[in-house]
């Protein structure tokens, strides 16, 4: 029966190709626009690491100015990043399964080919746990071990794009790379990896691509490099003299992530942090009330409001756009259906029930919806590519399986919205009138 309905619907669509094309085009346009902005919103609001997002925690402690809160508008919040000394202090804990402080630096890379000029690259300074904690995929080799953090040993991990650029691709493990005035050995090459949003450092852009190079954190002392991200300080920055003084200062510039797998671990770690702060209070630091915060990945992203307001606004507008397209179809479908009232009259007279007639027409509308939806998804991919090109930091928007499903879902809903009333009207027609007229 269903196959028959689809066949009939196809026949009906073929009878008036221009009108059918118009119907399909309207749905395609609406689906293209709405799916594109649904995808944009989804990328911003998605879970970047679903396998363990509720076991990874962002650590905050309130080391800020005793006289005033970190953020005047939200005085209950501790600073969003951490000082170097506190990061060092809490990294001493053996409670977390994995843990890493991290920041982004801008360093000079000397390509192995002598004729290429040196260039600056964003380098993530982090600890060995960064890779297993964030389940970073490797193409060749792997991360470094915890021993290399202490040295620090001159090892780096590079991403696939950097590997192509510097070494022409291939297994570059063991190759030598000069960064600033030091030689580093490549320990691993990443497979393409783009968590979106880029949750681990929201301050340098949640929609940014991850850094191309990763290096043991402690090279911060050797290169005496400050963060290329965000740094805030409440004491007088001009009075910080020398790099060691900077590291010991109250400047907050480090992101701190830990993995806590069990509830016991979590409780133990909370106790550890509290004890750490109380200890620091004895030393005259942490003048503000005890205010430690552990937020999991989704909690942290929500706190940081990584979904741009524009994305939400565009989503609302694009869904309304689809609605207008669907409303447009109502009129066209009504005309189309009513024009074949005589045919329906014959079918009804031959015993087709109202329900059958109704369903037949709904199937036709949904067929239009699905065809339009498929075309719309293609269009939507183009729209997203266009948006990616328009955005300078290479946008990351693309359709994935859930979004394709959502696009088809939207087209079915649009087909239903457009078809419900016309199909209801046509099935209510009294058959006799149309028979008489013939």
């Amino acid at each position: 029966m269903f196959a028959y309905m689809i066949r009939t619907a196809l026949l009906s669509l073929r009878r008036n190709p221009v009108l059918s094309a118009l119907l399909v085009a309207a749905i395609a346009l609406g689906v293209a626009v709405s799916t594109a902005f649904l995808t944009v919103h989804y990328v911003y609001s998605g879970n970047p690491i679903p396998s363990k997002s509720n076991r990874l925690f962002y650590v905050q402690m309130d080391s800020w100015n005793p006289d005033r809160p970190y953020a005047r508008s939200r005085p209950e919040l501790p600073p969003e990043q951490m000082t170097y000394r506190d990061m060092q202090g809490i990294m001493a804990s053996d409670i977390p399964t994995y843990q890493s402080g991290m920041f982004v630096a801008s360093l000079t890379i000397h390509p192995p080919e002598a004729e290429q000029r040196p260039f600056r690259e964003r380098v993530r300074m982090c600890f060995a746990d960064f890779f297993p904690m964030f389940e970073v995929p490797f193409l060749y080799g792997g991360g470094w071990d915890r021993g290399a953090d202490r040295g620090p040993e001159p090892v780096v991990v590079i991403d696939a794009a950097t590997n192509d650029r510097l070494f022409g691709g291939g297994d570059s493990v063991g190759k030598i790379l000069r960064i600033e005035d030091r030689q580093f050995t490549v320990a691993g090459v990443l497979a393409p990896w783009r968590p979106s949003p880029r949750f681990y450092d929201t301050h340098t852009g949640a929609s940014q691509v991850p850094e191309g190079i990763y290096m043991p954190f402690e090279f911060v002392r050797i290169f005496e490099v400050e963060t290329a991200g965000n740094l805030l300080i409440w004491t007088d920055y001009d009075e910080v003299d020398g790099f060691e003084a900077f590291l010991a200062s109250e400047a907050v510039w480090i992101q701190m992530w830990v993995q806590l797998d069990t509830n016991e671990q979590r409780q133990a770690y909370i106790g550890f942090l509290d004890a750490y702060v109380m200890e620091q209070k004895k030393l005259g630091r942490f003048g503000r009330p005890l205010n430690n915060r552990l937020l999991d990945v989704m909690g942290w992203l929500k706190d940081q409001e990584v979904v741009p307001e524009e994305a939400t606004g565009m989503l609302v507008i694009s869904l309304l756009f689809l609605l207008v397209c669907a409303v447009n179809l109502i009129g066209i479908l009504l005309g189309k259906f009513l024009s074949r009232a005589p045919e329906v009259g014959v079918r009804r007279a031959l015993g087709a029930s109202r329900t059958t007639v109704f369903l037949q027409h709904i199937v036709e509308c949904e067929l239009v919806g699905v065809i339009g939806g498929i075309l719309g998804l293609g269009l939507s991919a183009l729209v997203l590519r266009l948006i990616n090109q328009l955005l300078t930091n290479n946008g990351q928007f693309g359709l994935d399986l859930p979004m394709v499903a959502a696009g088809i879902g939207l087209s079915l809903v649009a087909g239903l919205v457009a078809g419900l009333y016309p199909a209801w009207r046509i099935c209510r027609l009294a058959p006799a009138i149309h028979l008489k007229l013939q």
């Binding site: 005035d181 606004g313 756009f321 397209c325 409303v327 447009n328």
Partner: protein, 402 residues
């Protein structure tokens, strides 16, 4: 008039009436809200920054040799760089600067007047070398520019600061900021003296509500050994000068990475999202008007086809062609009019939702009036072609059976 019959005919077959009404109402709501957002963003993008934007280009050099750790060496290179940059034909002047206006990254401190007990005012600042005012193209309205002696104040001496009028007015609301002292709001220690006031200059965050607050601190400029210069070219000479900048500074010292980029490029990157948003919304609003217009054409055509006999009867009974045309024109006026009235309500509802969800701008009534006028005209134009077709219906159709 024919309003009575038109209305009764509409109510007799209300589907078309409702469809157009709903469509027009939705379209008005969406288009007006889109335009409101577009206008707000454009206002942000185009408001004057006080800078000579079209003629400013930035040269950033990042050394990779150890020599630059030595401050004297750094000073020498900076002076040489500036000397050669200023000597390029087509360059008006250049200055050293630590961060960039309009680019989204910079420094900020708190300041207040000595007797002001509040938490202080945000003072985004740039550390600049000599000739900054002429380079940036900002206008000095009171006081003086920095001189050589300002660059290295003696031990314990306060800095000589130049602030924008907006910042001066915040610090000293009575308008007597020139020559006054400003202090750190926490420690109450003297930060500096205001020696000059400039009319207008945007800081590093032109999108923010404090875009107009800016301060120029004199100093030997370097940011972790990085040297950065703002270069102002003669009007229109930027393209000609552009390619000479990198070789010029590399000739002074080649052990560094040089980036040359017009300030407008930094601004474009900073306003990336806004620019894309404006483009997308413009296309969307245009598409939507197109779709609605097609919808009205379709529905009116359908209605004309359905009412062929009725039109013929009227013609047979003596109605002129223009009367038939008038009938359809007035009808579409009435329908879109009602739709737009509903649409005005819907526009405000959508705006309410968007201001809460997405911090969209509140819409003003001229915008709604404009939107109503636009859609009314578009509705009319869309209905004209089918209405003309109606006038061509010959009276003789009445005499034919189906």
């Amino acid at each position: 008039m024919e309003l009575g019959p038109i209305f009764r005919a509409l109510m007799h077959n209300p589907t078309r009436f409702w469809l157009i009404t709903v469509e027009v109402a939705l379209t008005l709501a969406i288009v007006v809200n889109c335009v409101a957002i577009i206008l707000e963003q454009r206002e942000l993008l185009t408001r004057p920054s006080g800078l000579d934007e079209p003629n400013l280009v930035v040269v950033t050099t990042q050394p990779f040799a150890g020599d630059f750790a030595d401050e004297n060496f750094l000073d020498t290179v900076r002076e040489e760089d500036l000397r050669y940059l200023r000597a390029i034909s087509g360059v008006r002047t250049a200055c050293a600067m630590d961060y960039l206006p309009l680019a989204g990254g910079g420094s900020l401190t708190g300041l207040s007047a000595p007797d002001d007990e509040s938490d202080g005012h945000p003072a985004p600042y740039f550390v600049v070398g000599l000739a900054a005012l002429e380079t940036l193209g900002v206008e000095l309205v009171a006081g003086r520019d920095h001189i050589e002696a300002d660059l290295r104040p003696g031990e314990g001496e306060p800095e000589n600061l130049i602030v924008t009028q907006a910042l001066a007015d915040r610090l000293y609301p009575d308008g007597d900021a020139l020559g006054k002292t400003v202090v750190d709001p926490d420690t109450r220690e003297v930060f500096g003296h205001i020696i000059g006031i400039i009319r207008e200059m945007h800081n590093a965050w032109p999108r923010s509500s404090i875009a107009g607050l800016a301060m120029l601190r004199p100093g030997p400029v370097s940011n972790e050994r990085e040297l950065r210069y703002m270069v102002r070219t003669e009007p229109g000479a930027l393209d000609a000068v552009f390619n000479q900048l990198e070789p010029t500074v590399l000739a002074v010292n080649a052990d560094r990475i040089v980036t040359v980029r017009p300030i407008e490029e930094y601004k474009r990157r900073y306003f990336d999202d806004e620019i894309v948003l404006v483009k997308v919304l413009t296309v969307l609003a245009a598409l939507l008007i197109g779709v609605t217009s097609l919808g009205i054409i379709g529905l009116t055509s359908f209605s004309v086809t359905q009412r062929t006999r009725e039109i013929g009867t009227r013609r047979a009974l003596g109605a002129t062609r223009s009367a038939v045309l008038r009938y359809f024109v007035i009808e579409i006026w009435v329908i879109t009019g009602i739709g737009l009235a509903l649409g005005a309500l819907l526009t405000y509802s959508l705006n309410y939702a968007l201001t809460h969800l997405a911090d969209a701008p509140a819409i003003s009534w001229p915008l709604i009036v404009g939107g109503i006028a636009l859609l009314w005209v578009i509705g009319l134009i869309s209905a004209l072609a089918p209405a003309f077709r109606a006038t061509l219906v010959p009276p003789v159709v009445t005499t034919r059976s189906v």
